[in-house]
């Protein structure tokens, strides 16, 4: 690991890289990535804040639970894999190639790790909120409906003693861009039709089936007799005696004026849980110096250059639900992609910096903090240089001085800091002369 001594003449061209990876989050994404990395010889530490591994997917009865258990069993056997539960990251210092992460587990322990790469694979939160719904016993959230379906033996479904003969699923009132809800609903709708012989209505704005087997699930649901309705304005939901009613216009009629209002009456209105970024997302982003999407609150911008596992910082990757709530197939893809990118980065054992790297002339730095704030890659920090004091008065002894420093291995060579520095103290070493006009063909 190369440490800059503050001598800008010392041209650091490459840094050594350990084969160590830190994974934050012991859910599907974190464990899947850990498995691939460990199988490829990486030393992996998994840090999970809860007391148990598994994350959000344990709510869903599926083959996933069995596969999760076998993944955990495999990881526990590998010597190079360390699993820490009930543990959280407190601080990240340093840059790519020299990360220093301090963790707290339980009340007192603080461990320090020095991974070469970090994978953030946390989760999201769900809230069982039903704004605008009538207070009544028939509002059921998808996770609870899942439990109901799994625990009901026989061929009839009851809720609070009353038989359930019709269920309405209401999608797209919230949770924009979440495909997971569609996956859950299509499966549950089929089970309700085929096993419990219920009438099933699915109301949605757009059915989000662009995930593996999504179209197939939809076709099966249609063939089983599930009825799908599209809506534009939010449907009116009301009590109808002991049952619930939903009113929507009949959008199959083209002319607005000729549309009649349909009323669908059911025993259950099934709603997705409201998805929200985890409550520690802000702290996580600040600790790791990565960006947060302002509009939604999840980690990383909705910038196409960063899909799907890159963050704005070299050496820090992201996969899974903490980037956006998603189903298992998407999470699996992201975990595999992240593991591959980490392997590609770390396997060679070294990283070549550049070609263009920003460099601060510490004699001119005014410590205005503009560049650390502006650097999109969090590659700049204020550090101590054992060089001449910028406020040196002729005749006085030079001493140690603080100035901004760009970590060459973390620098992407974009030049934003170079152009912004009010003291013109930063130059872009390795850039081609800017005033050189480009030859025309």
């Amino acid at each position: 690991m190369a440490e800059m001594k503050g001598d800008s003449q010392n041209k650091i061209d490459s840094i050594m890289l350990k084969q160590d990876v830190l994974i934050i989050g012991g859910g599907w994404a974190g464990l899947s990535a850990a498995k691939i990395l460990a199988r490829n010889g990486m030393r992996v530490t998994i840090v999970e804040k809860a007391a148990e591994l598994g994350g959000g997917c344990v709510d869903w009865a599926d083959d996933s639970r069995t596969e999760m258990r076998s993944t955990i069993a495999e990881l526990e056997k590998i010597e190079k894999v360390a699993i820490m539960t009930g543990a959280e990251v407190r601080r990240l210092a340093g840059q790519f190639g020299s990360f220093r992460v301090s963790l707290r587990q339980g009340a007192n322990d603080i461990t320090e790790l020095t991974p070469a790469a970090v994978l953030i694979a946390g989760g999201y939160e769900t809230k069982k909120e039903a704004p605008g719904m009538p207070a009544g016993k028939g509002i059921v959230f998808l996770a609870d409906l899942e439990k109901m379906l799994n625990s009901s033996s026989g061929s009839s479904l009851t809720l609070n003693g009353r038989p359930v003969t019709a269920v309405t699923f209401l999608l797209d009132l919230y949770n924009e861009d979440v495909k997971f809800d569609a996956w859950a609903v299509l499966r549950q709708a089929q089970v309700l039709r085929t096993k419990f012989k219920c009438q099933v209505f699915v109301l949605c704005k757009d059915l989000k089936v662009s995930f593996a087997s999504g179209e197939l699930l939809y076709r099966q649901a249609r063939e089983a007799g599930v009825l799908f309705f599209k809506y534009e304005a939010s449907p009116a939901v009301d009590l109808a005696g002991e049952r619930l009613s939903v009113e929507i216009p009949d959008y199959t009629v083209v002319t607005k004026e000729a549309r009649e209002t349909m009323t669908l009456v059911s025993d259950i209105i099934a709603l997705p849980e409201v998805c929200a970024p985890g409550s520690d997302t802000d702290r996580l982003c600040r600790t790791f110096g990565i960006r947060r999407e302002l509009a939604t609150g999840y980690i990383m911008d909705d910038n196409p250059q960063f899909l799907r596992v890159r963050t704005n910082r070299r050496g820090i990757f992201i996969a899974g639900a903490c980037r956006s709530p998603q189903g298992l197939t998407e999470t699996q893809s992201e975990a595999e992609a992240a593991a591959e990118e980490i392997l590609a980065l770390l396997k060679p054992g070294f990283f070549t910096c550049g070609p263009a790297i920003a460099e601060v002339d510490e004699k001119k730095c005014a410590l205005c903090y503009t560049c650390p704030r502006l650097c999109p890659h969090a590659a700049i920090t204020i550090e101590k240089y054992a060089r001449q004091n910028v406020y040196r008065i002729p005749g006085f002894e030079p001493g140690a001085v603080y100035a901004a420093r760009v970590e060459p291995a973390a620098c992407y060579g974009c030049g934003i800091c170079v152009a912004e520095c009010p003291a013109r103290a930063i130059s872009l070493r390795g850039e081609r002369p800017l005033l050189q006009a480009r030859a025309r063909i």
């Binding site: 001119k364 005014a366 410590l367 205005c368 903090y369 503009t370 704030r373 502006l374 910028v390 406020y391 040196r392 008065i393 002729p394 520095c421 009010p422 003291a423 013109r424 103290a425």
Partner: protein
């Protein structure tokens, strides 16, 4: 730190009318930090001035320099070699620097290029707010770290005026009422009893600048 804003360029061009060659001197300290007079702004201003004068066919030659500060005589001396042939100095430093240069180069006009606005804090990148007015007798211990001289529009010393409403100032609605902030801070600190200590009326003459420019002397430091 001192915060300053560049003067409108029309005003600066007015100052520079009689001259054909000037030194444009930036400053590597406060005005660099608030992006109004460091090396970057010096380059920018030089280009703008040259362009304006090109249009009027009265070209202006500008020699650029940005010493670390201008307010010590030794830093001011750094302009020494460049002064020959120049007709005036345009300084982007605070008034202290301009006057140090004026004292050092008595025979040359030294013109200010920025207006010092206040001593202030960085609230967020690109936004600065006034925090200190050099009143000469700091009372921040009594006011929970919020200054009523700098942050109360009326510079009241013993509580808010009747115009304080929902934590905002009646003089400028966007401004937070300083005494509301003082109250909140003292409450957090468990020091509300300090509000019962009357802060006497300020003696602007002896403590502050109302008797002219102040002087600070350390006999023990004199060489």
């Amino acid at each position: 730190m001192i915060k300053a804003e560049q003067k409108p360029i029309e005003e600066i061009l007015g100052y520079l009318e009689p001259y054909g060659k000037i030194i444009l001197s930036g400053c590597g300290a406060c005005v660099t930090v608030c992006h109004s007079g460091g090396e970057k702004e010096v380059a920018l201003l030089a280009e703008s001035l040259k362009m304006a004068r090109n249009k009027d066919a009265k070209p202006l030659e500008i020699v650029e320099i940005t010493p670390a500060r201008q307010c010590e005589p030794e830093f001011a001396a750094e302009l020494g070699d460049l002064v020959e042939g120049a007709e005036a100095i345009l300084s982007l430093s605070c008034g202290v620097g301009v006057q140090t240069l004026a004292r050092t180069y008595g025979a040359m006009a030294v013109l200010p290029g920025v207006n010092v606005v206040f001593m202030g804090e960085t609230v967020m990148h690109g936004q600065w707010e006034e925090r200190c007015q050099a009143c000469g007798n700091c009372i921040l211990e009594k006011t929970g770290g919020v200054c009523p001289i700098a942050r109360c529009a009326k510079q009241l010393l013993n509580g808010p005026c009747g115009g304080s409403s929902r934590g905002k100032c009646e003089i400028k609605r966007e401004t937070d009422c300083a005494w509301q902030m003082i109250f909140d801070r003292l409450k957090t600190l468990g020091q509300l009893h300090k509000l019962t200590e009357i802060i006497p009326a300020k003696n602007w003459g002896t403590e502050s600048r109302d008797m002219g420019p102040r002087r600070m002397v350390r006999e023990d430091l004199k060489v």
